[in-house]
Symmetry: C2
Subunit: 622 residues, 2 copies
């Protein structure tokens, strides 16, 4: 990217020391980390209704209240369980770390893969739902839903490439506004009910009504479980908190649960009095329209719902690159993913996250119902492994009150494991099968990558004992230089002169397509004042590398085992990017083939070209 | 591509000497070079009818006969004109060469661009029409038309990558079979007419009938002009003929014209007695069904029509890469396009041709009528320039009978120029506008490329006088070496040892993210038995190249103008392709940035990695 443009879009680079300044306290930590859980009010309830309403009719609203209650209980269990994780892992206790340390490698890698998938789906689901809020209020935008989603993801990517703190402040206030406006809506809604408000009757297609099965209830319940996906973000992010980070993190976790209880529980109850049809648009937008009418409050709720869902997606922009970089440092994913970008964000991770989420949105046509089928399973696998890890930790390490603590984590692990099974069954055909296939594939690849790094390390490492005996003598290698030349010009002269400075054993090497061309090159070469011999080979196959390798192996060249052969290749460095299309192809091909031979070192000699127009002030074509 | 697979698909590589054996005589030259013109019987007539029938009704068949007559007259003029080109250009007289030599550079480049476009459209139109023949006989295939076209292009690409002669023999016999079967069809058709055959009456929608305008006649005529696109192929391909190549080429040109006269003229007349509806499928297939019924002869005609249209497309696979390589040698298109591939075909040209033609087919949905709007204009621009070039040549060089010869070429140029104007007007909105825009763009780019090569040449060339004074002294440069090391391992030791052999002025250079890491590296380095100094720099921005460049410019390093600095970078050469994703990223980034500095030479030191499983016979993850 152009440097100026890059600066404008993502800001100036930050020093390592500036990382400390990027950390957040409770005030900024809450909106950043709670938005995922709180924002789920915008789709979890709606997706519950979407399952129940066509089958159960108006009874759906009742069922929904009970299901929401179950989810809130589950939230309580998770909150207690994760408080303990925060205490034990002040450096960040993601499911990957906890499962790997306390259960084993495979458990850790499994948790890591599951988390990767759930971060990606957090972005996809939240953005799809966020845009759904907008298009529900402005139906004219409906045909552009997918494009709007991708646009939002692009903007978020740029925002996150700018770095942690600025994006936090940039994006945080809406969470508070959202919470406040939902509370206001609930209060006004309750007042209207007591004032005797009667909603327009909801017209349902009764022909599809059927007896409500347990499968149906469970399917609705698993949709609602998407509401719990923010909890692990807090325990992952402990080191991002200002000191005392553990205490701050626990405060944020407690506040988060309370807010979800009020907002999610409140809307699940109030929708009984303001019945909506989830197929006609976003639930929150419809409730707001009934409670406020189509005025400034309505538009505020719509925009804030969109905003908090964007914030929820943003949660993943902390979690995902962090996780990837931890796994990269340990060698389970490619190392280059562990490098921080210019602005201390993990740029590679951010960009991959955005790209895959955008792809999913395009594939699933930004349909929240279809995306949610993939969502919860990954989250609950990591919940299970993380809490199981904590359970084993207590068993092993003991400590104060360890039996109670083990019971809390163990119960949490048990409950979430049951939910994993329920999701796998009820959502299998709705997308969960993809996750069920992808996770083992990811585990396999991660182990492959790790094996490779281990093999590499073993080949490269020198033990301290060996190190003492290592010397760098002047004459360990005999260095011999070959300068391939196509013709005698300034580039080849420069290469020959350089060759002369690095070795006394230099040959110039020419491959000619026909005898005549070779003769010409030799004639010109003989005019030079040099003792470097020129070898001319005729290449019947119009190839360059093969004759060179054959020459090296020939008796004529007398290659001795252990000699290093340096091949000098000029590379034209041109002023305009399109000029590159015209150069260096042969060089690249030669380099790619020679690099496979371990006794050959390739020297790339840059040759700066001047601008065409400066060289040719006036010229005629010929 | 995998080497074994490549051999299987495109055969063994050929030597330069084998080119001679790839040339063809009249017997093989005729089918290869005539197929384009002869195959046009399959679509030119049909596209004439498609314009006229909805407007003029049954009168269309009469008009078509007259239009075909005009086209045959035009063919006669072109044949006479191009005979003279073959005589004057035994090394291949493509429009590019003739126009450039006799009119000027811009005319040449214009002809070159036009020819490029017409070669591409020869492939697109012929394949689209070929597949249309098949789907007309087997309507069940109709939904897959575009895919079938792309499949055929892929197969042709492979065939042509195999080389000239084999593809000729592989593809040639069908032309003779096609000619024979069309003659048989015409004879049987005439016999049936005399035997009193009455076709089923053709039902036309009379509501669309309108008075026939000159514009309409001209539009139909320009569609028919697509029939003439094979003529220039012969004069381009003179050097591909066996000796005496001029005589053989002229014989082929004469035979070609006679065959087009019989086949194209014959079907244009007979369709008056076997009226078909061109909107219901391919004309030839429909006529064959009426004459033969749906039996073995019908299927034979269908398959042979398809086959000769594939052959017609194949014409472009000789012409296009030949043209491109001529222009590449002269520097108007990127030089790498002039290199012959393994099997003496011009692989790059073949692949580009296929790719663009396939793209056009996908864009225009394999619709012959829409593609033909782009086709004829390019061909006729090159006809005009080629014959105008010949005209100027006679004026300048004179010679025997030059007035008559100039008159023939001049008349040809005039007629084809008028047709260019007619096509530009009648087909402007039907696709000709694309060509009208693309040709000037291509001319501009070609001149830009030429300018660049000229500027490059000027900067590189050393005149023979200068050459005598050029020496290659041992000490023209002071060579200083920097070895960037991330840690002390076998790769860095190897690089340091190599550095020692090429210079006495070596420094090891480490960039550390934090002070602690730098200290560790220094500790290990100090254990080495070496006098090479280690420089450790702390990089606050987590960058590698900037600190290195800053160090080079610092007083500490004491860089003197004219010194060359060699930077040695290890590159891991891994056994499995996917391992590459895990390595060499940092190296590539460093190389790309350093290459911009002219005093820096980059040495890539390959380090062969063993296979993971061999290194780690038994291992535990950690």
């Amino acid at each position: 990217m152009n440097k100026g443009l890059k600066r404008l879009l993502i800001g100036r680079p930050l020093k390592n020391e500036e990382i400390q300044g990027e950390k957040f306290g409770v005030l900024w930590g809450l909106p950043i980390l709670s938005s995922d859980a709180i924002s789920s009010v915008a789709y979890a309830g709606q997706e519950i209704l979407l399952v129940l309403l066509p089958i159960a009719g108006f009874l759906a609203f009742k069922y929904m209240a009970y299901i929401s209650l179950a989810i809130i209980v589950l939230l309580g269990i998770l909150t207690l369980s994760y408080r303990q994780t925060i205490d034990c892992y002040p450096n960040g206790g993601g499911a990957y770390v906890v499962a790997k340390e306390n259960i084993g490698l495979i458990a850790g890698v499994t948790a890591g893969s599951s988390l990767c998938i759930s971060y990606i789906l957090t972005v996809a689901v939240s953005i799809a739902s966020g845009v759904q809020q907008i298009v529900s209020a402005f139906p004219v935008l409906k045909p552009y839903t997918s494009y709007l989603c991708v646009l939002v993801i692009i903007l978020m990517t740029l925002g996150n490439l700018r770095g942690i703190k600025e994006s936090a402040k940039l994006f945080s206030l809406p969470t508070y506004f959202f919470i406040f406006s939902i509370l206001l809506m609930l209060v006004v809604g309750v007042i209207k009910i007591f004032a005797g408000y009667k909603p327009e009757p909801l017209v349902l297609d009764e022909s599809s009504f059927q007896p409500v099965t347990l499968f149906l209830i469970l399917s609705a319940f698993t949709n609602g479980c998407a509401a719990l996906t923010g909890v692990e973000a807090v325990s992952n992010s402990v080191p991002n908190f200002k000191a005392p980070s553990t205490k701050n993190a626990k405060a944020v976790l407690a506040l988060l649960s309370t807010l979800v209880l009020i907002v999610f529980g409140g809307t699940s109850i109030i929708v009984n009095y303001y019945p909506i049809n989830p197929e006609k648009g976003a639930m929150l937008v419809q409730i707001a329209q009934m409670i406020f009418g189509r005025n400034i409050f309505f538009y505020t709720i719509t925009v804030l719902s969109f905003a908090i869902l964007v914030l929820a997606a943003n949660t993943a922009y902390f979690g995902f690159p962090n996780l990837i970089s931890v796994m990269a440092r340990e060698g389970y994913v490619p190392r280059q993913l562990s490098m921080r970008g210019d602005r201390l964000s993990f740029s590679n991770g951010i960009i991959s996250l955005s790209a895959i989420a955008a792809l999913l949105i395009l594939i699933f046509n930004a349909n929240v119902t279809r995306l949610i089928g993939l969502y919860a399973i990954g989250v609950f696998i990591s919940f299970t492994l993380s809490q199981a890890g904590m359970f084993f930790r207590w068993i092993k390490n003991k400590g104060d009150n360890w039996v109670v603590k083990a019971a809390i984590n163990g119960f949490g692990a048990f409950v979430t494991f049951v939910i994993v099974i329920v999701i796998a069954i009820t959502k299998f055909t709705m997308g969960a099968w993809i996750v069920v296939i992808v996770i083992p594939v990811m585990i396999f690849l991660m182990l492959k990558v790790k094996t490779h790094y281990m093999a590499l390390h073993k080949q490269l490492k020198i033990s301290p004992e060996e190190l003492k005996d290592v010397s760098i003598p002047r004459d360990v290698y005999t260095n011999r230089v070959i300068v391939p030349i196509a013709s005698i010009n300034r580039a080849s002269i420069r290469a020959l002169r350089y060759a002369r400075t690095i070795s006394d054993n230099v040959v110039a090497f020419n491959v000619s397509i026909d005898e005549e061309q070779g003769k010409k090159v030799r004639e010109k070469y003989n005019m030079l004042d040099t003792d470097i011999p020129l070898i001319v080979k005729y290449s019947p196959f119009r190839r360059v590398v093969e004759p060179l390798l054959m020459f090296i192996e020939s008796a004529e060249y007398d290659y001795q085992k252990g000699d290093i052969i340096t091949v000098i290749l000029p590379q034209f460095v041109v002023k305009r990017w399109w000029n590159n299309a015209l150069h260096n192809h042969t060089r690249a091909i030669i380099e790619r083939q020679l690099i496979r031979h371990k006794h050959i070192v390739i020297c790339t000699m840059p040759l700066q070209m001047k601008d065409d127009d400066r060289v040719l002030k006036s010229h005629k074509y010929k």
